[in-house]
């Protein structure tokens, strides 16, 4: 670094004073905490007792699993209580606790894992692990199944709501770009919901609208499709429909994306459209060859930001599920899980580790988008 003239030195000192608040923040509320989070994630601490260093235990808890192999199948005919199983080979396996089955079922007896023996009902086991069990005869028992639920739920919501939301925002922006009377009012109307959207009040409203019996949505649904309200999806009360409900709620926020795309649309030079028209392009071709490439930098930027934010969804989920994560963990998103682990179960070390994993996933997602960004078309002219 070159030595500073006295004048420059005065300017530098003055400048450092100006940015002092930012430097304080950077050290104490950003850099410091990030390092602390790294350190914490290798520890176990509940803030009251001692801080224990536990090495990779937290990460093993998150990512580790036991493999259970199916050793026997039982077909039950009715109410039965099992305390031990005798396999075909004659081995006797004692169950850690008696298992009661009311209905007739086909049960798979699995060996392995922390308790040694486990029973799964082949009819009710679903998802990826169920597939493994039914097809290959083994299943994996994650050390922390809630972690995988959280990751799956967050990814599910993100990768459905972001693309669809973006398409909707672009379409709405295209509509808003027309020279129609009172278009300003429309823009305000479409943008208002996303301003309110982050608040808990809206989440409460949506909880009411998605109410299975008396909510507005099911009423409209039954009006349009003729399905009686009692047969409509139970939305937030059902495991299968809770996440779709959250995604649908998100569509109401198209306004914020719309504003950005609208600005982007207005930045595309009109001459490009005229040139395309002279070349005989119809409306669809104009859209595909002029509008989309012109919008691509904005789309790219918005895609990254949207994914980053969508991975951090919290407010609505907390309010709607009372902090629990939905029927049977079906809406347990990562941030909610982190919150629970930290402030309900006081496992601050594990929660820090979780937050770092979330950070890593976001980083990877962003990196992937940058890597495959050849489709983004940058104009020669740089706009300020």
């Amino acid at each position: 670094m070159a030595t500073l003239t006295p004048l420059r030195r005065k300017e530098a000192i003055s400048a450092y004073l100006f940015i002092a608040p930012f430097l304080l923040w950077l050290i104490f509320l950003m850099g410091g905490p990030i390092l602390a989070a790294f350190f914490l994630s290798f520890c176990e601490w509940d803030l009251i007792g001692q801080l224990h260093y536990v090495g990779f235990h937290n990460f093993n808890e998150m990512f580790g699993f036991a493999k259970l192999t199916s050793v026997h199948q039982i077909i039950t005919q009715g109410p039965v209580t099992l305390t031990s199983i005798t396999t075909n080979a004659g081995a006797v396996l004692t169950l850690p606790s008696p298992s009661v089955f009311q209905e007739p079922a086909t049960l798979a007896v699995l060996q392995g894992g922390p308790s040694g023996v486990m029973i799964q009902n082949l009819a009710t086991v679903h998802g990826f692990l169920g597939f493994l069990l039914k097809t290959f005869g083994f299943t994996l028992l994650p050390n922390d199944p809630r972690f995988w639920s959280a990751m799956y739920n967050t990814a599910y919501i993100t990768f459905l709501s972001v693309p669809i939301g973006m398409v909707l925002s672009v379409v709405v922006a295209l509509l808003m770009n027309q020279k129609l009377k009172g278009i300003e009012a429309y823009r305000a109307i479409y943008y208002l919901p996303s301003v309110l959207g982050s608040g808990v009040a809206m989440a409460v409203l949506w909880k009411w609208i998605f109410n299975a019996d008396s909510g507005l949505l099911n009423y409209f649904l039954s009006m349009i499709t003729g399905i009686p309200i009692s047969e409509c999806p139970k939305w937030l009360a059902s495991e299968a429909w809770a996440k779709p409900a959250l995604i649908i709620m998100g569509f109401w926020n198209v306004g914020s994306g719309m504003i950005i795309y609208l600005a982007g649309l207005q930045g595309i030079p009109q001459t490009h459209y005229e040139a395309a028209e002279i070349d005989g392009a119809n409306l669809w071709q104009q859209f595909w060859n002029v509008t989309l490439p012109g919008l691509s930098p904005v789309i790219f930027f918005n895609l990254i930001i949207s994914i980053v934010f969508s991975f951090q969804i919290f407010n609505q989920v907390y309010v709607i599920t009372d902090g629990l994560g939905g029927p049977a963990d079906s809406t347990l998103v990562m941030v909610l899980y982190i919150y629970q682990k930290a402030f309900k179960y006081y496992q601050y070390g594990y929660a820090s580790a979780l937050s770092l994993v979330l950070f890593a996933v976001i980083m990877v997602a962003t990196w992937v988008q940058f890597k495959y960004s050849k489709w983004v078309h940058y104009e020669g002219e740089l706009k300020k």
Partner: protein, 305 residues
Amino acid sequence: MSQPQNNFWDSKRRQERIFKIIFTVILVLGAVTMLAPLAWMLSTSLKTPTQVFASPPIWIPSPLQWSNYPTAWSVSGIFATDTWYFLWIKMRGITFSTYAWNTLVISVLGTLGTTLSSALVAFAFARLRFPGRDTLFLLCLATLMVPAQVTMIPSFILFKTLGWYDTFLPLIVPAWLGGGAYNIFLMRQFFMTIPYELDEAAKIDGCSNLGLFWNILLPLCKPALATVAIFSFVYNWNDFLNPLIYLDSNANKTLAIGLTNFVSLYGQDYHLLMAASLIISLPIILIFLAGQKHFIKGIVTTGLK
């Protein structure tokens, strides 16, 4: 010659007109979809409990139950299942007024801090030369990528160690330390649109940096300041996770928390819930209606890099 030209213009104009009609219809449908939930919220908030669950739904109840609003306001939202605790709270008079006041204090002080400090920091990045300026600014932008949850827990531990748990300080002080990378970036972009000649003229007249900042540049930044202030106020008003973590005693809680407690206790009284929700949303709606163009301009300025 004129025959084919007439046909061409006719079909083109008709095509345009048809498109305009289709667009208007779609726009109107969309606008209705956007506003319907809000209308429904208002409608439910004015109903009696039986009207709330009526099917088919009533859109305009009669008579309008305006009394729901005072009821929602006065009912305390923080309960335990313990009746004595409930009575004690009731006697202490903690109502939505307390929450509203807390939320207002936090929002106003936070907004003030954000606006002021982001302008100060951005001024230095935009106008002053000092070693490490560009690196620090890049660092500033990089922090936008860090999810809040990574710093959430260590920050919580820090504030708890400082003894700031259950005070407003963790919610207000960070705002005064630069107000976040987004706001610094926005202000810096705006500062850079002001011609440097102004600075030079002021310096020739012997103006200090602070004087230059405060007396000359800041007044020129009013639109950007308004945008930062509005965004910051809305963020603080709607903030849920931070008050949830840092505020514990009922007298300190904010509207967002109060509403959640209200929900877990009065889960089925949707008329009251909707009234409360509307009360909480009202300031935001009003601010939005008054300052629309600041919202929009703010996003546009930072959205297009």
